[in-house]
């Protein structure tokens, strides 16, 4: 194998699994260390700089970081990264004064359509540069999907208002709320230097052709619309018996909200097998905890009416068959259709993009999926060069943190576009790599990982939370639980940096490594090399760190897979060929250094 080029920041970036998996690449271990030091405000600021809505995301994020967490490969459970983020938000001091303000006007004017997480991120990144930003939304308040679709028992409105306020209070941002933008052509004539579309993926998918759909319309609701109606208090109750169709997180929000609005017999009925449902495992657990059964492998067949009123639904039973190419087919079992009685049905089977307000003559072209054709997933520029897309409106439904990541990149593009720079030349990330040695047995971070198991977040009393949908179910960690949970972090950003020329091949690192990551051996092609390490490196998603050829003709090979970043290799190295160096990787934003954390 070729020697690893550790001077390329992308190599060590990939080693920090959580940060790498995060669409916005939030420096997770850095802020977790700050939480352990009770520097909650600094932890919050690092988050805010990267993901804009730490308080919101600390409660609602889809957490791509947690399945990626190295701890999950070393023991049972990953670090509770998401809930630690909430700790930073819960325990921080007043931060308003530490956040940046709008810069002196630079004469450029930008329209942001839709006030969801993507547009708000663009606004925050561009305001300090002096852009005049006009933020349009059909709702009365900003937040978009975060406000309309996420129930209050998961995300209190006060948290959302606070974090949106931080952005709107920067200055330079004019809100045009209660205004539905119905023509892109008109917007293009208003003299904006650039337009960002972050209007989300607003249409919930329906089952228009299912027998009985039209006749039973009064008791059939589209999940995300229904959730929005609940949020705005247009809907305050639901029937006693509710069927929720769908297996995603929206279905989980629907069924749990139903339990709070009078639903007593609430069921989730889903086509796919339980294990393959799109909902996050913890969302499913929470629903089951609230007494909601999840019935899988059932395909809707018919809405059943009696005297013109919905009384239930029939379903065909299926079983999954997996073909060689990995394709899954749901094959009818041939059993009799099954009937489930109900008063109301919530359809939460996905969302579709829709841009009825973007005229053909604007030159903005769309794919056959209904999503805009975008230059690439770095620039977010549409086929009309001054129009940019981001969030769910760019590539279809995803999640908040993805929308934020889009917003950062789009903001860079918009800035470059307005300043006449080349969009494809993306700015490099801000990277530092600093030695952490403090003494013979001492590092600047808690190097030896603790063995405590993942802390469980305490919940509000079930009766109390089912009685009032405004009561937040999760109570969050207290300071002590947060400290232990933070100490579970393996500090994967404390990188093991190897300098070939210093190595005298004493093998001390290989002997001491508690997880047998390091092997000195003859070089070979990657597949062969992986097989002949002390413990074969089966996890091919994780890289091998390979040195140049050493004096005895061998190479040092480190399997990154289960490295604990405990620093023992560096402690037992007589020549400092190994060193633990703290790696900080911050993706480029339109405004660099938004916050000041030492």
């Amino acid at each position: 194998m070729q020697a690893t080029d550790a001077t390329n920041p992308e190599y060590f970036h990939k080693v920090v699994d959580c940060q790498y998996a995060c669409p916005a690449h939030t420096p997770v271990p850095a802020y977790i260390r700050l939480i352990a030091q009770q520097r909650y405000t600094d932890a919050y600021l690092i988050n805010w700089e990267s993901n804009v809505f730490p308080g919101v995301l600390g409660r609602t994020c889809d957490r791509p970081c947690e399945p990626a967490c190295r701890r999950g490969r070393v023991e049972e459970e990953p670090v509770a990264i998401c809930r630690l983020k909430r700790v930073a938000a819960d325990f921080k001091d007043e931060v308003a004064g530490m956040l940046p303000k709008a810069g002196p006007p630079n004469g450029k004017k930008i329209a942001l359509i839709g006030a969801g997480p993507a547009s708000l991120t663009v606004a925050r990144d561009l305001a300090p540069l002096g852009y005049e930003l006009h933020l349009y939304d059909e709702q009365a308040k900003g937040g978009g999907f975060m406000r309309s679709q996420i129930p209050s028992f998961r995300l209190p409105e006060s948290v959302l208002d606070e974090e949106i306020g931080y952005i709107l209070d920067m200055g330079g941002i004019t809100t045009v709320f209660d205004t539905y933008v119905d023509s892109m052509a008109e917007m293009l004539n208003k003299g904006y230097d650039a337009i960002f579309v972050g209007s989300g993926a607003p249409r919930g998918r329906d089952l228009p052709k299912l027998p009985g759909r039209k006749e039973a319309d009064a008791n059939i609701h589209i999940g995300i619309n229904w959730l929005a109606n609940v949020a705005f208090e247009h809907t305050k109750e639901i029937g006693k018996r509710v069927i929720v169709l769908g297996g995603g997180n929206t279905a989980m929000d629907c069924c749990r909200t139903s339990r709070r609005l009078g639903g007593e017999d609430v069921k989730v009925i889903v086509r796919s097998p339980f294990a393959e449902m799109k909902a996050s495992p913890w969302e499913k657990e929470d629903a089951i905890h609230e007494g909601i059964p999840i019935i899988d492998n059932h395909v809707p067949r018919e809405f059943v009416l009696e005297n013109g009123k919905l009384v239930g639904m029939t379903f065909d039973k299926v079983q999954p068959v997996y073909h060689k190419d990995g394709h899954r087919e749901l094959v009818p079992t041939g059993e009799e259709p099954e009937f489930y009685p109900c008063d109301d049905v919530l359809v939460a089977i996905g969302q579709e993009n829709a841009f009825p307000w973007i005229e053909k003559e604007t030159g903005i072209r769309f794919t056959s999926w209904g999503t805009p054709i975008i230059n690439d997933d770095e620039t977010f520029q549409s086929t009309r060069k001054e129009v940019f897309f981001g969030g769910d409106s760019a590539f279809g439904p995803s999640n908040i943190i993805t929308a934020v990541a889009h917003g950062h990149k789009a903001a860079v593009s918009i800035d470059f576009y307005c300043q006449g720079k080349t969009l494809s030349k993306r700015p490099p990330p801000h990277v530092t790599l600093i030695g952490q040695k403090m003494g013979i047995h001492e590092w600047s971070y808690d190097s030896i990982p603790i063995t405590d198991e993942r802390k469980i977040v305490p919940l509000e009393d079930l009766k109390k939370s089912l009685n009032d949908r405004m009561v937040e179910v999760e109570l969050g960690f207290d300071a002590e639980a947060a400290f232990i949970e933070a100490e579970r972090c393996l500090n994967c950003d404390a990188q093991t940096v190897f300098t070939d020329s210093n190595c005298i091949e004493c093998d001390a690192c290989q002997d001491i490594c508690p997880t047998n990551c390091i092997t000195f051996t003859q070089n070979a092609p990657e597949k062969e090399l992986r097989a002949k390490l002390l413990v074969p490196a089966d996890n091919t998603e994780q890289d091998l760190y390979v040195s140049g050829t050493l004096p005895t003709g061998r190479v040092m090979v480190k399997d990154e897979d289960v490295c604990l970043h405990c620093g023992l290799c560096a402690e037992r190295c007589p020549t400092a060929a190994w060193d633990m160096q703290m790696f900080f990787y911050n993706t480029a934003k339109a405004t660099p250094n938004l916050v000041d954390v030492k």
Partner: protein
């Protein structure tokens, strides 16, 4: 602060026949200098015991005084141990072996502990063929007292402070062959591929097995001019690789005909001597001595299995001692009564 190892292990760490992982053979984290050759020997012992699937509680570690003699703390944390007086480990080992012949004895000593203060005891240990493995971590200097030349320092080797050693060093391997040791090997701490099978073979051998291991002192003798530095040892290394196949394992590796010699131990285990010299016989003292002298005269460090007598009789056999450990003998066996005493007395009249 990391004076102990994290508890986490690789989830796919292999297990031996006893169901133990190599981590079950770990000891405390070493307090020797980072990069010390001794730590590599500790790891080689750990790996050897793991590979040979020896139950840790069947092993007794014995040592004297010195950096080398601290080593037993750093491997086999679940075995018995006795840290004795300087140079007096052989007496303790002899006593222990006679008292309980069922334990596997592993002595760890250094060039000072063996070749200076302990020399008198060492040669008698060999002479009596006590059933044990005796490893000398040989760095040619007194690391614990800041690196003075030891009795095994080579003539002309330069110390850390720039002075040349004016005396000829004692070659412990030659001495052991000459004194009649039934198993003599030499190795290098930086060559685990050879050291591990050598330790496994030594532990399987019945009788006194001696291994002299060149183990660089990274702090006081790793300088230019030192003959026992990592660089100098590697440069002058003349290694005879070996492979060890325990009795219960089937032989998987095929060696080209003529490329290796095999030696079968008393328990049926097999030692393969790879790339063996055509005219070298591992069961000949004369060949061993000749090869060692030749290597010494050309400044080479000859490593590998130097001499082996697979049919040696250990101390317990020679003295026809009880076949069971003393602590397992019952009252009737220890004190057979006046009738037996009478018959003995009768026999002497």
């Amino acid at each position: 602060m990391s004076y102990y190892k994290p508890k986490f292990q690789h989830p796919k760490l292999p297990k031996n026949e006893l169901g133990y992982t190599v981590a079950d053979y770990d000891g405390a984290v070493s307090t020797l200098c980072a990069g010390c050759g001794h730590d590599s020997i500790s790891a080689a012992i750990r790996n050897a015991c793991f590979l040979s699937a020896i139950p840790p509680h069947r092993i007794a570690k014995l040592s004297g005084i010195g950096c080398s003699s601290k080593m037993p703390t750093y491997f086999l944390g679940r075995s018995h141990g006795f840290n004795s007086v300087h140079g007096r480990m052989p007496s303790v080992a002899t006593g222990a072996s006679v008292a309980n012949r069922d334990l596997i004895y592993l002595g760890v000593s250094g060039d000072g502990d063996t070749a200076s203060i302990g020399m008198g005891q060492f040669v008698h240990l060999i002479r009596r063929n006590v059933n044990m493995t005796y490893i000398v971590a040989n760095n040619g200097c007194y690391g614990l007292t800041k690196g003075q030349d030891s009795a095994t320092a080579d003539l002309g080797s330069v110390g850390k402070y720039g002075t040349k050693n004016p005396f000829d060093g004692i070659d412990l391997a030659s001495l052991a062959v000459l004194q009649g040791a039934s198993f003599v090997g030499r190795s290098f701490s930086g060559d685990k591929e050879q050291l591990e099978p050598l330790i496994r073979a030594a532990m399987a051998h019945r009788g006194f097995a001696f291994i002299d291991v060149v183990s660089p002192c990274v702090t006081f003798a790793n300088n230019v001019g030192s003959t026992k530095s990592y660089a100098a040892t590697r440069e002058n290394l003349d290694a005879m690789p070996i492979d060890f196949v325990p009795m219960r394992e089937e032989i998987r590796t095929q060696y080209k005909e003529g490329s290796s010699q095999t030696v079968t131990l008393h328990d049926g285990s097999i030692i393969h001597l790879l790339k063996a010299r055509k005219d070298y016989k591992a069961d000949s003292r004369e060949d061993a001595l000749m090869a060692l002298q030749k290597a010494n005269s050309t400044g080479k460090v000859l490593t590998g299995l130097l001499y082996l007598d697979p049919n040696s009789q250990d101390l317990n056999q020679v003295l026809e001692l009880a076949s069971k450990p003393l602590n397992s003998l019952g009252m009737d066996e220890l004190c057979p009564g006046s009738r037996v005493l009478k018959s003995i007395n009768e026999g002497l009249r």
